[in-house]
């Protein structure tokens, strides 16, 4: 099964619609082409290089807690 991970946006290059996001402390480059109005600090669901949609912080933290509970998180 494929998991889409909540990632927090830490930097955005608006010219290229690319962002740097943090997933469990791992930095990944993601395209923001499929989502609107994303800013630094927001959480997005990331899969294979694309931010799929923006999610609120509560939902993101709840999901990350589930990953941690399942022993999937390093931190």
């Amino acid at each position: 099964m494929c998991l889409a991970l909540p990632a927090q946006i830490i930097d955005i290059d608006f010219a290229t619609q690319m962002a740097t996001a943090s997933v469990d402390g791992v930095k990944v480059e993601v395209s923001l082409a499929l989502v609107d109005d994303v800013k630094v600090g927001d959480y997005v669901l990331v899969h294979v290089g694309y931010a799929l949609n923006k999610i609120d912080e509560d939902e993101a933290l709840k999901t990350l807690a589930l990953f941690a509970e399942a022993g999937l998180m390093a931190s």
């Binding site: 494929c2 998991l3 395209s31 899969h47």
Partner: protein
């Protein structure tokens, strides 16, 4: 590497030929998070964990819970849920076509079309269920037929425009390769450009192997086989009656005359694979439902086992309840059938030949994308001395 894990595919090659293939997965067993939870809690967690193929995962979880709880069938609501599954399959196919295929053609993807596709897709649940809650034990069917039909028309129109350049109906009407050649002649649609490129580069049979399509699995026999083996091992590297099988759009489409003709020439090579995905993307919104179906659930002694057809192939959920809570939960995703170390991808990769390493890499990327475009993978090519 992120917690989502990845698949490492290593090709050892010599003189332009693949000598050996190794496939290793670090994809996690996320289902263990369900242990100790009530069915209601499981169904609340599933959408958070599985936002990709979320409808298939949620439907499988719901049906597994319902089976384990011996709850009565809900034929009308389940028909609506299966409708959502089919629409998800269309979305998954279409957005990968729109994002990945331009790259295979050295073009830039049309991200506006992808965003439009995702926007339409997000609205379907609320057209069919109260508050858009489709996959809970107490979900209430509430169909807004005019809005649902309007969205379907919008989805079909978008796919027709951005993938088929207005030629969707013509594509669906084809029954043999001769007609496909006619359809492709001078056709500038994204679908046609990709299929034409396969012919031009003589890639149409690339990756052909003798790994058969997964047959329908008898639910009771599947449960017996899962119980009699190491469940973790079965979920990581599933086999049926001691053999590897393919579970993809191509393997589940047995009734398409066009695919029957193409398979007779190119087996399970690239051309039939891409055509199978296009057929599902084109046909499902038109109301052709035979391509995606479900097997009956298995229920006994607190065990619920279900099989649903997700976009990439068969998805199995099996749970065991004790005292109202999950004692064991297993998920077998289609990726694990198709990326099995001896499965259809491994066998297909072994058949590759090219002039140099870069050529082999490109062929491998085409084949991996055709078998499952959604998998996070790392491809390593190692020359043998």
């Amino acid at each position: 590497m992120t917690p989502a894990g990845e698949i490492t595919i290593e090709l050892n090659h010599r003189a332009g030929k693949v000598e050996a293939v190794e496939i290793a997965s670090t994809r996690p067993d996320a289902a263990r998070v369900f242990v100790g939870k009530t069915p209601e809690q499981v169904l609340s967690i599933v959408p958070l964990l599985f936002s990709l193929c979320g409808n298939a995962q949620a439907y499988a979880a719901l049906q597994a819970c319902r089976a384990a709880l011996r709850m009565p069938a809900e034929p009308e609501a389940d028909a609506a849920r299966e409708h959502l599954l089919q629409l998800e399959t269309v979305r998954e196919h279409a957005w990968r076509i729109l994002l990945d295929w331009p790259g295979l053609l050295d073009q830039q993807p049309d991200k506006t079309a992808v965003a439009a596709l995702l926007k339409i897709d997000r609205q379907f649940k609320s057209c069919l269920f109260q508050d858009g809650e489709a996959f809970k034990l107490d979900s209430q069917l509430q169909i807004d037929a005019p809005r649902s039909q309007g969205l379907l028309a919008e989805l079909t129109g978008l796919i027709d425009q951005v993938i088929f350049d207005g030629g969707l109906r013509g594509f669906l009407a084809m029954t043999n390769e001769m007609q496909l050649h006619d359809w492709l002649d001078g056709n500038k649609a994204l679908a046609a450009q990709l299929l034409n490129k396969l012919y031009q580069r003589e890639l149409h049979a690339l990756g052909n192997s003798n790994v058969a399509g997964l047959p329908n699995l008898d639910p009771a026999e599947l449960n017996r086989q899962m119980q009699s083996t190491d469940l973790s091992a079965f979920c990581r590297m599933p086999q049926w009656q001691g053999r590897c099988y393919e579970s993809t759009p191509l393997s589940r489409q047995q009734e398409s005359p066009l695919l029957t003709d193409l398979r007779s020439h190119y087996g399970n090579g690239l051309l039939p694979r891409f055509v199978a995905v296009l057929l599902e993307a084109a046909a499902i919104p038109q109301g052709i439902k035979s391509m995606v179906g479900t097997m009956p659930a298995y229920a006994a002694d607190g065990v619920g086992l279900v099989q649903v057809q997700a976009a990439r192939g068969l998805l199995i959920h099996r749970l065991e309840l004790r005292q109202g809570r999950v004692y064991d939960y297993r998920i077998v995703a289609p990726t694990e059938w198709n990326f099995h170390p001896n499965g259809v991808l491994a066998q297909g990769l072994k058949s590759l030949q090219a002039d140099d390493e870069e050529g082999l890499r490109r062929q491998a990327e085409w084949l991996i994308n055709a078998v499952d475009p959604c998998v996070q993978y790392r491809l390593v090519l190692t020359p043998e001395n």
